[in-house]
């Protein structure tokens, strides 16, 4: 029998080198510490931290979450204790973790993002992920991630100022995600990650009230997986930078769907809530799949989708 080593699972996302392709999705894993009680965080390919803004953000009123068929809606409102709080309270713990630490950043202006990215570079994190699903206050509040010109300006501005591996997290709430993937690549993003949540809404018919205080929220979980897999596949055919795929991943088979569609790595979000050890189960499952199919490198699996020829 073939000897299995952990090197089987190594992936290179350009300059960002991971010990395995499984990471956590921003906003679903806190700052890491909470889950360190349940398993060894060092097993993760990377840890992606909850979105950080320059100033602390209070977040939305409750109810902030509600369950929907095979998924959940959330309108947390980006609650976080800001850059200073992060540096003081969370960073020291993250420095002790022996895996890659990626920080998700968000702002209301290009300058916010640039400042945050520079600070993160200075703090020694391994990469930054731009959460572009935030309103661009100077441009009437339309999200950076849904307006091509603002999206491009943002990525170029950050790229100019930081050398750190740059991940752009794409919003699915657009008519053609390929267009945004292409702009991200052309503007200097090293990696793209997708998908962020899909905007949704749920109503309690008894009370006639929306189930979330914010009225609308972001849909995540298995309900969005087919949409996410399709978007990863479209982006894979469009760009040549590596892709981190996410959206409803609960098992290694789910993760492999994304990888076969073209993702080099995957992230688990809502799946952490169902079971704190979802990520490690997936790592083991991918390893088993490789052993069973005799595939010895992750790169041989990325985009290895077989589309039968039509007669």
């Amino acid at each position: 029998m073939k000897k299995r080593t952990s090197s089987d699972l190594k992936v290179d996302l350009g300059r960002l080198k991971l010990k395995n392709p499984v990471m956590t999705a921003s906003g679903t894993f806190g700052y890491g510490k909470e889950y360190s009680e349940f398993f060894d965080l060092n097993r993760l390919g990377a840890l992606v931290i909850k979105g950080i803004s320059l100033k602390p953000m209070k977040g939305n009123p409750v109810p902030r979450i509600c369950e929907t068929p095979s998924g959940m809606l959330n309108a947390i409102g980006l609650q976080n204790n800001g850059l200073k709080g992060f540096m003081k309270e969370q960073l020291p713990f993250l420095k002790t973790v022996k895996t890659k630490v990626i920080v998700n950043i968000l702002g209301n202006s290009v300058d916010d993002y640039v400042e945050l990215a520079q600070q993160m570079e200075g703090a020694g994190v391994d990469a930054v992920e731009l959460n572009v699903s935030c309103p661009n206050v100077k441009k009437g509040g339309i999200a950076f991630g849904t307006e091509p010109a603002a999206f491009e300006e943002l990525i170029r501005a950050v790229r100019k100022k930081v050398d750190l591996p740059l991940i752009t997290k794409l919003s699915p709430n657009v008519s053609d995600i390929k267009q945004f993937a292409r702009i991200a690549e052309d503007s200097g993003s090293d990696i793209i990650s997708l998908i962020n949540t899909i905007t949704g809404m749920s109503i309690n018919v008894k009370t006639r009230q929306p189930r979330l205080a914010n009225i609308t929220g972001g849909l995540s979980g298995p309900a969005i997986r087919p949409v996410a897999v399709r978007m990863v596949w479209e982006c894979y055919k469009t760009v040549s930078i590596p892709i981190i795929g996410m959206g409803g991943i609960l098992s290694s088979d789910d993760a492999l769907e994304f990888i076969l569609a073209g993702a080099s790595a995957v992230a688990v979000g809502t799946g952490n809530f169902l079971n704190p050890t979802t990520t490690t189960t997936i790592i083991d499952g991918i390893k088993d799949y490789m052993a069973q199919t005799g595939i010895d490198s992750m790169s041989a699996l990325t985009g290895a989708l077989k589309c039968p020829k039509r007669p």
Partner: protein, 232 residues
């Protein structure tokens, strides 16, 4: 947090308080209100249910708390019974009378059928003051009104007591205005929609004087005076 299904429906775990711990047994007391609790009620002896916990804090009973009074509304009785057991052993409670040598407990329910745990309470030597909304059992009316009446009648006895409460938001809210007026210490166990149960999703917050706090992590028990009720 209990996993109620093995599939995708319902997707999320459901939060429950620990009712009692008896030897190696962990007891939960719940009411069927929807899909999750419905599935739970169809489980048979010998089935396995995944439990994530214990999570969050519990009622903070200090040695100095001599005169503890308990308040439960509806299913809020679940954690209160366990607490009653604990303080019965340490004898830190306020007695209702000399004949009944157990802690003073106010317990409100909608109707007679929903009054639970009477045998458990009896075995702990507790004779609760019970009220039902429809008057089918005990005193007719709401339990906070009963409690207020009791406190005004027994002024001397109730001085320096600490209240521990669990129940619907309406009950806790009216309790909080009473305890604030009288300067009584009170701790309340709150409920909120939950996803992760471990403090990462920030879905379960309550608005407090110190800002938003997570019910699953910093809670579910909070000093009642810290809660900002009108902007929960």
């Amino acid at each position: 947090m209990l996993s109620v299904s093995n599939g995708l429906d319902p997707l999320l775990k459901r939060p429950f308080s620990i009712h009692r711990i008896l030897g190696d047994d962990l007891q939960f007391l719940y009411r069927v209100v929807g899909k999750g609790t419905e599935i739970l009620s169809s489980r048979k002896p010998g089935d396995t249910i995944e439990v994530l916990g214990p999570l969050g804090n519990s009622f903070p009973v200090r040695k100095s708390n001599k005169n503890i009074v308990l308040v439960a509304g509806g299913l809020g009785i679940a954690p209160i019974v366990g607490l009653a057991e604990k303080i019965s052993h340490s004898r830190q409670f306020l007695k209702k009378s000399d004949e009944m040598n157990g802690p003073l407990l106010f317990y409100g329910a909608k109707t007679k059928n929903e009054v639970m745990c009477r045998e458990d309470l009896e075995s702990l030597n507790i004779k609760p003051i019970i009220s039902t909304d429809d008057g089918t059992f005990g005193i007719k009316g709401n339990i906070v009104t009963c409690l207020k009446r009791y406190f005004s009648r027994h002024k001397l006895m109730t001085e320096g007591c600490t209240l521990y409460a669990c129940g619907p938001e309406m009950m806790l809210k009216s309790l909080s205005s009473f305890t604030a007026k009288k300067g009584i210490h009170c701790f309340a166990a709150l409920e909120q929609n939950m996803a992760c149960g471990v403090g990462t999703c920030l879905g379960c917050v309550v608005n407090t004087k110190k800002g938003y706090r997570r019910v699953c992590k910093e809670g579910p028990v909070f000093p009642i005076e810290e809660i900002i009720w009108d902007k929960l």
